[in-house]
Structure formats: C-alpha cells, structure tokens
Amino acid sequence: MDVVSFVFTLFAFFLLLGALGTVFSRNPVAAAMWLVLTFFSAGGVWLLLQAEFLALTLVLVYVGAVMVLFLFVVMMLDLNLAKLREGFWHNAPLALLVGGALAIELYLMLTSPAFHRAAAPAVAGSNTKMIGEVLYTVYAYPFEVAAMILVVAMIAAVTLTHRKRSDVRVVKPEEQIAVKASERLKVVSLPAEKE
C-alpha cells in the first residue's frame, strides 16, 4: 500500500467513524463533536483529490464557524433525551420509508455508469486561482444569485429574531464613549477659609 492509499484509508475510516458516531451517540454535544471529525476527515479526503481550496474552505467554514455555532446552541439547550425519544415507534415507518428511498437512490447512483468515470487528472498550479477564475467568469451569475440569497436570508434572520425592548434600561457604549470629562466633573476653585 503506498502512502496515498494509506492516508486515504485513514481519512475514510475516520470519516465513517465520525458519521456513525454522529448518528448513534446519545449525547447531542458528543454527536456534534463526531460531526466535526466527519467534516475534518472529509476535508482530508478532498485534499487527496488535490482540491486544496475546497478542503480548507470546508474546514474553515463548516468546522471553524458553522459547527461552533451548532455547539453553542446545543450546549445552551436543555435537552430532555427521554422526551426526544417519545415518538420513536410512531415515526418509525415514515423514517424507514425515507431512509429506504435514500438507500435506493444511492444504490442507483453508485451503480450507474456516470459515477464510474476516471478522476480528472490533477492540474499543476494553484487550485484557488482556477476556482476563482471560473467562479467570476463562467459561473458569475449563479455566484451572484447565491450571494443575494445568502444576504436576504441573513437580513431575514436578523429581522425575525431582533427585538427591541423598551422597558429595560441598557447602557449605550456610543454615549459612554462620547462623554467628556468636563460633562461629568466640574473643577471649582474655593478660596481658602481664613479665621
């Protein structure tokens, strides 16, 4: 086994381990950590395909930002595991149906000839530059549309969750910073009292 196959096997093993851990772990925080391992291993597999930009962006965005916020929320929630499991048998048939459909789709895709293409030969040079060039020329419109959708979603999320309470007193840093010493403190000179 050469080095590349060994590294691939290692990453693939941890990828599967992480995915299984995410699904089977009982503790939501542990599940999130398994998902982190899954993303990280996927990044490693992508690196082996010489897609270093995508691999590092996967780690940067999903592991470095998205999963941190996930953990943030999961840790804050007071999850009642017994309550989460309550409707298990009620929902099981539907879950089986969805899972079965996904499994069949995966099977069809994996056996189709379209999947068995040889990997494109790696090109020399910076992968980042090539993605950038394609993104801003061939795929400029889809890229812009995606950006617009993200901005709209972000603004919507902020407006939906932002609420201004008028019944509480809050400190405003702007006002605090704008304060000058002369507004707070008055220096007066008092003549010394003489007998």
Partner: protein, 349 residues
C-alpha cells in the same frame, strides 16, 4: 551537509521522507516550546519592571530557571477530574486546544525556503487551523460541568468567531495585493517595489499601504488569543479562570502552552504578512531569520506592554469593537485597495 543528507537518504531508503519531516518538525517545535517557556518568564519580568517590581528572581541566576521549575511543578501536580464531568471530553479539551496551535506552524515560513510544508494555499491553511482553536475552549468549558467554565467557554467562542471575521477580511486585503496565498511568496512580494529598489525595503512592505489592516489584524490577534485586555473568557474577577477553572496540573499547562504558542504565532504572522518577514529593512544589511525573530519579538513585547497598560474590556464593548468598528474598517479598506489596484496609481504592478 549535503553529503550527510544523501548518505542518510541512501541508508534509510523509503523511510527517509518520514524521518526528514520528523527532523524538521523537531527542529521547529523544540525552539518554539522553549520560547513559550521563556515567554512566560519574560512576561513576568517585563510586567514586573513596568509595575516597579523585580519579578521572579529566586530560581537560578536572575530567576532564569523559573520556567523550568514551573513546568516541573505542573508535571507533578495531581490532575483532578470533577465527578460530574464528561470524562472523555474533559481530556479532549486541552488536547484540542494545543493541537491546532502546533499544527499551524507547518505552513509558517521562518526564512527563505525554511518551511515544513510550502503550501500553495498556506494562508488559507493557517486560517483554517486557527479557526479550530476555539474547540479546545468550548469543549473544556462544557465538559467541566461548571457554570463558570461554561460562561467562559461561551464568551470565548463568541469572541473568537467575531474577531475571526475582521481578521479574515484583513487577510483578504493582503492576498489581494500579493496575488497569492503562499506565505513565502507574500514575503518575497513585499521585497519588491519602488522603495525596495532604492534601498529602503521597509517602506515597500505591506504595513504602509495596508496600515489600518495591520493595526486591526494585530488587535484582532490579541483578541483571538484571549489575552488582556480581551481576556474576558478567563476574567478572574467575575468568572474565576473561565474554561480552565476545573483543570489542574498538566491539563492546565496544555492550555497555557496553547495560549503562548498562539501569541508567538500571531506575532510571526503579523511580521510575515505586514512587516516583510525575514526581509531586511534596508538594502545594505543581509536578509535572514534574525529579522523575523526581531520583528516577532517586538510584537510579543507589545503583547506584554498592552497587558500591563490597559484594563479589561467590558463584554459588550468587546463585541462592539469587533463588529461595529473593525469589520467596517476592514470592508472599507478592502474596497479602497481593490479600487486603488485598478487605477493608474496602483503601486502593485
């Protein structure tokens, strides 16, 4: 030297690349860990003198053996695990804090060609690994099952994510003017320009055209490493020691190692990205590793100076500074630089 290398290569055969890389890692990490140890000593001495004290002076001549004594003490201390802690994640936390802060050095060049992995996407690698550092803190805070630790972890994660945004935008400015993500290339590119041709290389470095970014980057770096005045995650007056509160002995020492290694990293990165790395500031002096070390030492001193000077921020002020001051500054400067590069006045041609 080369004869020895080829001899070792022939003798070890296929195992040679592994041995060679392990050697490179050792040559980089041993001085780094020594620097971490003596940075704690320097911190105590420098802050001591700033506060008109002497600082540690008992262990060894002038207290030089103090870091060794500290390390031995931490090694022999008992590691206590809270009974209600999540046993596995409790120990994963410190390990996950230290691992990225050592891993990131793989892509950091210390001299022309002296780098363990000269990655094409080096800057992206550094950013990706730095973004992993927050996990150690979050996991430690949660697994300790203590409210102070948890509050510290929440504060740390919010703060680190917020300042990563400003840092990221700043780095985009750097790679805009450099046109490459390779850290060595970024340094080499800073050695070119009108001033460099006239012998004043230091005016060609990135800090001058990107001055606001350089300042924002270094301050964000201080916030990223949770150092004073941004040390709210471990603010001892309100939440004791934050995520580290339940840790003792070596587990606690790992957090400290990670924190100081990160300080050194931020100083190195600031020198590399904005201050010409190993380039000499004037033409008549030779380039070399010593310049990078001098520049990084200046920033490390700045770290300690800031710590001795400024009081801790209030939490909402930290968030305000990150999101309402730094992010707009970096976005505006990004636009300014992008437009500047397209005008005939561009200095990067």
């Amino acid at each position: 030297m080369n004869e020895w290398l080829s001899l070792a290569q022939g003798w070890l055969g296929p195992a040679w690349p592994v041995v060679w890389n392990v050697l490179k890692i050792i040559v980089l990490l041993v001085p780094l860990l020594l620097a971490v140890a003596y940075l704690t000593y320097a911190e105590r001495k420098i802050i001591g003198y700033m506060q008109v004290r002497i600082g540690p002076n008992r262990v060894g001549p002038k207290g030089w053996l103090q870091p060794i004594a500290d390390a031995l003490k931490l090694l022999f201390k008992e590691v206590i695990v809270p009974s209600q802690a999540n046993k596995v994640l409790y120990f994963v936390g410190p390990a996950m804090a230290l691992a990225p802060s050592l891993l990131v050095w793989a892509a950091v060049p210390v001299n022309d060609g002296w780098v363990i992995a000269d990655l094409d996407a080096g800057l992206l690698f550094v950013m990706a690994v730095i973004s992993l550092e927050v996990y150690g803190v979050i996991i430690a805070g949660w697994a300790s099952n203590s409210k102070y630790a948890f509050l510290g972890a929440m504060r740390a994660s919010a703060q680190m994510i917020s300042y990563e945004v400003a840092m990221g935008f700043g780095l985009i400015c750097v790679l805009l003017v450099s046109g490459t993500l390779n850290l060595s290339e970024i340094v080499r590119q800073q050695g070119t320009g009108w001033f460099a041709d006239h012998g004043l290389s230091f005016l060609s470095w990135n800090w001058l055209p990107l001055l606001p970014i350089a300042v924002v980057y270094f301050i964000s770096g201080v916030a990223e490493t949770n150092r004073a005045p941004f040390d709210l995650p471990e603010g001892e007056s309100e939440i004791v020691a934050g995520h580290m509160v339940e840790y003792s002995g070596m587990a606690f020492a790992l957090f400290f190692l990670a924190e100081y290694a990160n300080m050194i990293l931020v100083s190195f990165l600031t020198s590399i990205l904005f201050f010409g790395g190993w380039l000499s500031p004037v033409a008549f002096l030779p380039d070399g590793l010593h310049w990078l070390l001098i520049k990084a030492s200046v920033f490390l001193f700045l770290y300690l100076w800031i710590r001795a000077t400024f009081p801790r921020f209030r939490y909402d002020h930290v968030m305000r500074l990150g999101w309402k001051v730094f992010v707009p500054i970096t976005i505006v400067w990004l636009l300014v630089v992008a437009v500047w590069m397209l005008t005939p006045l561009s200095i990067w041609r």
